[in-house]
Symmetry: C2
């Protein structure tokens, strides 16, 4: 494969700022995760919250994923409408969302996580009204305090689901978002501690006659540990497909950067920097600072909503393109309309980020 | 007008997170800015980068604005396609954008700012190719070092524009983004210092036979000072229409909060907080932290891309709505598909944020 500078020199997006995916690198990332899961006999359910792109989701399924994870009802709707036949909503569903999810379940397998008796009742009511059955997972909180039930409460919720018409007890979710970006040593320690607790939860469910068919969780940062642990039946990674500064800097993940932002230099009246047309509306500030890839050695400093400085200019001038790697991929992708997927010769194909509308 | 809690109690958006505009308050803000400009004989050219909504832009024009400012080529395209007949692009245009702007000028008055000889040449080439004339403003940098030419360079650029076929020398822009959020005393001092410099620039242009027809600039934070200064012929404020935490906290602006985000409580398993469905993808983290309006006395803490904590829960539970005021309006609006514009009785009208796609 040609060098990154040689590749970038061939790519000329029709507009800026533009998200460009290097197809060959993304394909290698997709294949690597699929192979790692297959080797362990674990299902891959790639997370659609990262890319919000049904074309990429369909590709993941063609390569072997069993379906997609969604973080919102709107993502689930977009993906099912695009022909994806198996979706799991991995975040708690707002009250208005159950009837919409149940309607989707008329044409696709639809699952959701639940962490309260009220959610179980609402989900069941909606499913019965729609004449469908929803796959229901107990959401077990591994310590984030964001959603999910404490491990000690898993059996009671599983029993409540199992006794509810309109729902099929499908297993449990345990997503450790707080582990994904720890250093390799800290991640391994936290993962081992949580896995021991998770094994206990599963044993308690089995003892209660509620053995989970699926134990779903995991992410890009912990995927190797999740697979080695032998507990999870299904992995939910998202970022591995294209990566970002935050995951790349961990240093131990077998995935390569495939996503870049092209921006135009639009003002060059200072020796200290040039100004490009990418600011807070094109590169989301959550996570580490986005990194300048081209010109090499420069840094990016946001200058408001629509602009950023490239410091120093390193030879680029007005009208030139500059290239950045997003700091945190998910919220940055959610700012854009489309990926421009690039071949090595620079040819581009536009893939709509069609679930973008759906984050809201 | 009823109290804010009484108003919010009547509003039930069909989805969450949802941006809700209190119409009566927005109308009062729009009228106040229009009246202040009219009183001084200054043109109001409301900034479309804030709302990205052609319905709101058309309303501003119906109420007396001469046109809209745009920060991107895509905003200009969206607004002209929506029937807005006069747009000014207030940020430097990327090289790929000039032909698209020139095409727009076949059906609308289209202006742009320029800060280099290269931009002037590109703009003129595009205008001549399209058989149109673009209004060209010299962008004068008031010290932000983001875009614009140093004040001492204004005469040379104005002369270059004036001698260029395809362009009409329309005046100068001097936008002081770095003044907008200073404390009242600091803002007054910075504004006075810059105004003195701007008066000199205008005198130099006049002496060179390049008297600017329009002197455009100003924002929500400095509007009263901009009007009192007697230099600007045109004001460019955006945020005044709906306000945000950042502008509201200045304490001296005659505009009231009209924009709120409704979120659903989706998990409530802790005494310390509840979790709502608004995170970094619904409330942009740039600027001050978004503020909880309802339940009163609680604070908002982001919990990742799709969730946030309401601390303490203050009596709200699963399925309830919580209400926030965005910290910084512009980038938060750019995350959403639509405003839900609410009457006092709670009836909602959906206004697409149709230039959202265009930020990229």
């Amino acid at each position: 494969m040609q060098s990154l500078p040689d590749f970038l020199a061939r790519v000329k997006p029709p507009i800026t700022p533009a998200l460009v995916v290097r197809r060959a690198v993304m394909m290698a990332n997709l294949a690597a995760m699929q192979a790692a899961c297959a080797e362990r006999g674990v299902r891959l359910r790639a997370h659609g919250k990262m890319h919000k792109c049904s074309a990429l989701g369909r590709l993941q399924i063609e390569m072997g994923a069993v379906g997609l994870c969604c973080q919102t009802v709107g993502e689930a709707e977009t993906y099912v409408h695009a022909g994806i036949g198996d979706v799991l909503v991995t975040a708690p569903v707002p009250a208005w969302g159950w009837l919409r999810l149940a309607a989707l379940a008329r044409t696709a397998r639809v699952g959701a996580v639940m962490d309260s008796a009220a959610q179980i009742a609402e989900a069941a009511t909606a499913a019965l009204a729609a004449g469908v059955v929803l796959d229901a997972h107990v959401d077990v909180d591994p310590g984030m305090a964001r959603a999910g039930v404490a491990p000690a409460g898993a059996v009671a919720l599983a029993a409540a689901i199992a006794g509810q018409k309109g729902l099929r007890y499908a297993g449990i979710q345990a997503y450790c978002g707080h582990h994904q970006h720890l250093s390799p040593a800290e991640r391994a320690a936290a993962h081992a501690e949580w896995t021991a607790r998770l094994v206990t939860v599963v044993a308690e469910l089995r003892a209660a006659g509620l053995a989970p068919e699926q134990i779903t969780g995991g992410g890009t940062g912990t995927a190797a540990m999740d697979l080695a642990a032998g507990v999870y039946t299904e992995l939910q990674p998202g970022s591995y497909a294209v990566m970002d500064v935050e995951y790349g800097d961990l240093g131990d993940l077998p995935f390569a950067p495939a996503l870049f932002l092209a921006a135009s230099v639009v003002s060059a009246n200072h020796a200290s920097h040039v100004t490009c047309d990418a600011g807070h509306k094109a590169l989301h500030p959550n996570g580490p600072m986005s990194r300048v890839v081209q010109p090499a050695g420069s840094v990016y400093k946001p200058m408001g909503d629509e602009h950023g400085a490239i410091v120093p200019p390193s030879g680029v001038g007005e009208g030139d393109l500059v290239w950045l790697q997003p700091g945190h991929v998910d919220p940055t992708v959610a700012l854009h309309d489309a990926f421009f997927v690039a071949e090595e010769d620079g040819r581009l194909e536009r893939w709509p980020i069609d679930a973008r509308r759906a984050s809201l």
